[in-house]
């Protein structure tokens, strides 16, 4: 049980709809954005105002970690932060397995480098274990440049936490994120000398644990592709069917630039994948990929892909215009949803900016909560946060003027 801290939740003030570049016709058709909720910033180190059953949204930014919380009505939000002021927060998780509420953060100081921190009191205090939290062993001859992902395993492995790092390394913790060790088998993979970095670096940015607690595990590396182990020891490239138009051989064994992978725990063999051009689905945990949705998506380029925690056939993407421009198509922010496993997609934009919007959403910039209807949370590189409480049918702006959002992670406090 987590005590609710005594503080006012929110107040709001109306904001006029922007009329710049709007004709009378356009003005009549514009759905006025909900007024931005004024939120009371709770300066760290008070911690996040949240209690059992609340929805918590972690926001990793280029200048620290913010967090938002609300009751299950998702109507009024409190914001706390920033923690780790001035540091990039690419990785964060709220580990709620077995009744705990442990915050895990991977932060990188521009001066002092990366580290992993944990808090068991919603950010009121933080610990950084000694002697080291997450680091290469001496014999590896490498140094962690950035922690890209912190991924708790399924409920069947309540103390296992995976960390993806740069340069393309997987670490595993068996004590809830207090200590980590390098996965030497992936580190020593024969393909490694041939891996090329993506635009953000050679990053292991996604970890897909087996929800059932088995030894099966998948990781995504930009730009090496999707790799998996079925026995927990031997790693293999698993990119069959993913086209890489930026390479001479468009269907290589590896070298794909996988942006994100997600799955639904009820259908663990089915994976959704957003590639650097192309959305794919696999029904055998990466053994074979098929492109989906090319006819119904506004663009097949994008970064995040999120499976609906409540519906195995439902997933969400945010199409962007090309790998050069990387902003939403036609100045309209639309989240696309499939309800049939990716065969068809529908654009949803009610309440999102539909004109003159040049937003970018990064690979971890979209997240879903486990409430029903599913809540969605979208963070942009221009510092806005949008939320939907109805699986994307309608949206409203929760925050603006934040530093560029790198990460959105959601959890319901036990």
């Amino acid at each position: 049980m987590i005590s609710r801290m005594k503080s006012p939740r929110v107040c709001s003030a109306p904001v006029p709809v922007t009329t710049r570049h709007c004709t009378d016709e356009a003005r009549r058709n514009v759905v006025p954005p909900a007024p931005p909720l004024y939120y009371r910033f709770m300066a760290a180190p008070e911690g996040l105002d949240a209690s059992t059953g609340d929805v918590v949204v972690l926001l990793g930014t280029t200048k620290g970690l913010f967090a938002m919380s609300a009751g299950q009505d998702r109507a009024h939000w409190a914001v706390a932060g920033p923690w780790f002021r001035g540091e990039e927060v690419y990785a964060a998780a709220l580990d709620c397995r077995h009744g705990r509420a442990r915050l895990l953060v991977g932060a990188t100081s521009p001066h002092w480098g990366p580290s992993v921190y944990r808090s068991d009191d919603l950010g009121a205090s933080w610990a950084e274990p000694e002697p080291e939290t997450l680091a290469f062993p001496e014999q590896a001859g490498a140094a962690v440049a950035r922690v890209w992902q912190l991924q708790p395993a399924g409920d069947a492995q309540p103390d296992v936490v995976y960390a993806g790092a740069e340069p393309a390394a997987l670490f595993r913790s068996d004590d809830g994120g207090e200590t980590f060790r390098l996965d030497e088998n992936l580190w020593g993979h024969e393909h490694r000398p041939h891996w090329q970095p993506g635009g953000g670096g050679l990053c292991l940015h996604t970890v897909v644990p087996d929800p059932g607690g088995g030894s099966r595990l998948g990781v995504a590396v930009s730009a090496a592709g999707f790799y998996r182990t079925l026995d927990g020891t031997t790693w293999e490239a698993a990119n069959s069917g993913i086209r890489a138009p930026f390479l001479p051989d468009p269907t290589p064994e590896f070298g794909q630039c996988v942006h994100k992978v997600d799955c639904h725990p009820a259908e663990p063999d089915t994976l959704f994948l957003q590639h650097h051009w192309g959305v794919y689905r696999s029904d055998d945990f990466g053994g074979r990929w098929d492109e989906v949705g090319a006819d119904s998506l506004s663009s097949t380029f994008g970064f995040p892909i999120v499976a609906d925690p409540n519906r195995p056939k439902t997933a969400f993407v945010v199409p962007l215009t090309s790998d050069e421009f990387r902003c939403v198509p036609d100045g309209r922010v639309q989240v696309y949803r499939t309800g049939d496993g990716g065969v068809s997609w529908r654009g949803l934009g009610k309440g999102l900016p539909q004109s003159d919007a040049y937003l970018t959403v990064l690979r971890d910039g979209l997240s879903a909560d486990s409430l029903d209807p599913t809540g969605l949370y979208l963070g942009t590189r221009t510092g806005e946060v949008f939320a939907s409480a109805d699986a994307g049918e309608s949206w409203r702006e929760l925050a603006r003027h934040l530093p560029p959002v790198l990460l959105v992670k959601t959890a319901v406090l036990p």
């Binding site: 580290s115 680091a135 062993p137 001496e138 001859g141 140094a143």
Partner: protein, 70 residues
């Protein structure tokens, strides 16, 4: 520490007493972090002999964040 004391030896000693500080100065490979400067008196060690720079007795060693790190 036995003479001559180098910057590297100073940082090694720091790692024993304050490991959390030491790993913020050097990464796992022992390389000085890119946006960290170490001064031996008024001299940046990068202008001298890097981690092999000798620290004269009584000289202050300062670890400072570089302006290049923002």
């Amino acid at each position: 520490m036995p003479a001559p004391v180098t910057v590297g030896a100073v940082l090694d000693a720091l790692a024993v007493v304050h490991p959390a500080v030491a790993r913020r100065v050097r990464d796992e490979t022992g390389t000085l972090r890119r946006h960290v400067n170490v001064f031996v008196g008024p001299h940046n060690m990068r202008d001298l002999d890097d981690l092999g720079t000798v620290v004269p007795e009584g000289t202050e060693v300062a670890v400072l964040p570089a302006i290049s790190g923002g």
